[in-house]
């Protein structure tokens, strides 16, 4: 299972809409910083800053080509993050569905207990 350290970095990186948009663009294929900056109306340094965060989180890697240094998406940390959350969600959703059933049973038991107490009290009053 992925370490929490990696997952924290992944979630932090994904928390920003610009960074999610960059990843969505890179999902279509690799791109240079210039190409990435174009649709965002952002300066290249601002895009580079976001890329640095994505790189540190392992979500993006940079090519060796010194001029272009193309950026590409790394799918594994994303899969780890969504896999981990999915397991977490399933654990609780499945358990809570059973808890819903249990709570209905407990409420029914309580209602019966109340009735029989009332009946007993009523009898006690008469006696």
């Amino acid at each position: 299972m992925a370490s929490v350290r990696t997952l924290d970095a992944t979630f932090a990186a994904l928390a920003d809409p610009t960074r999610r948009a960059i990843l969505a663009r890179l999902a279509l294929g690799e791109a240079s910083v210039t190409e990435l900056a174009e649709p965002f109306a952002m300066s290249q340094p601002a895009i580079s800053k976001h890329l640095k965060v994505l790189e540190l989180a392992g979500l993006v890697s940079r090519g060796r080509d010194a001029q272009r240094r193309p950026c590409r998406i790394e799918a594994e940390p994303l899969a780890e993050a969504s896999g981990w959350l999915e397991n977490y969600r399933q654990f609780w959703e499945h358990s809570f569905a059973q808890l819903d059933n249990l709570l209905e049973e407990l409420k029914a038991e309580q209602a019966v207990a109340k009735k029989s107490t009332k009946r007993r009290n009523a009898k006690g009053d008469k006696a």
Binding site: M1, A15, A24, L28, S82, W92, S95, Q98, L99, D100
Partner: protein
């Protein structure tokens, strides 16, 4: 009557995961279902196909608890810890650690139960105690604070798949 609010998972801080869920029952009942071993055995089975094989709960401040879940293939997942705060029917705080320690050290789990119109909202938070995890998050520039719901990640991944990644 409207359906109870579904489960949400958020990661609002650099060390925290929060799960919320609404239950159609008064909070005393929900609280007891979390604290009494004989009730936990009836629902706390984990993911589909798993069962709660070991359920030991000393529900007192300083008392220990231990759970072991068993999967269909015989795989076991164990976790335990100590109760720090018990305020029926409102709040429980406990330390937690999984046998495999995949959380990078002990975590602190807090469950808060609030009731409205006969329904109980449970807010469960888990805070990671490890400095390492927190520092990694700080380095990745999340000081501005984040609100990353599972659904936005899900939507993002769906977009990605749709885009042919």
């Amino acid at each position: 009557m409207s359906a109870p609010k579904p489960l949400t998972i958020t990661t609002p801080g650099d060390r925290e995961i929060i799960v919320t869920r609404e239950f159609n029952a008064p909070r005393e009942l929900v609280f007891d279902a979390f604290g009494k071993a004989e009730l936990l055995k009836r629902w706390f089975n984990g993911p589909p196909g798993w069962t709660l094989a070991v359920c030991e709960v000393d529900f007192r401040v300083g008392g220990k608890f231990r759970f072991v879940w068993r999967g269909a293939d015989g795989v076991e997942m164990g976790m335990g810890g100590t109760h720090k705060v018990i305020e029926r029917p409102e709040r429980v705080v406990r330390s937690e650690i999984f046998d495999q320690d995949w959380t990078g050290g002990e975590t602190i789990g807090t469950a808060v139960f609030t009731e409205r119109d006969g329904r109980t909202t449970l807010t469960q938070s888990v805070v990671y105690a490890s400095r390492e995890a927190r520092d990694a998050a700080a380095r990745s520039g999340m000081a501005e604070g984040m609100e990353m719901g599972y659904q936005s990640l899900d939507a993002f991944l769906a977009d990605q798949v749709a885009a042919g990644a």
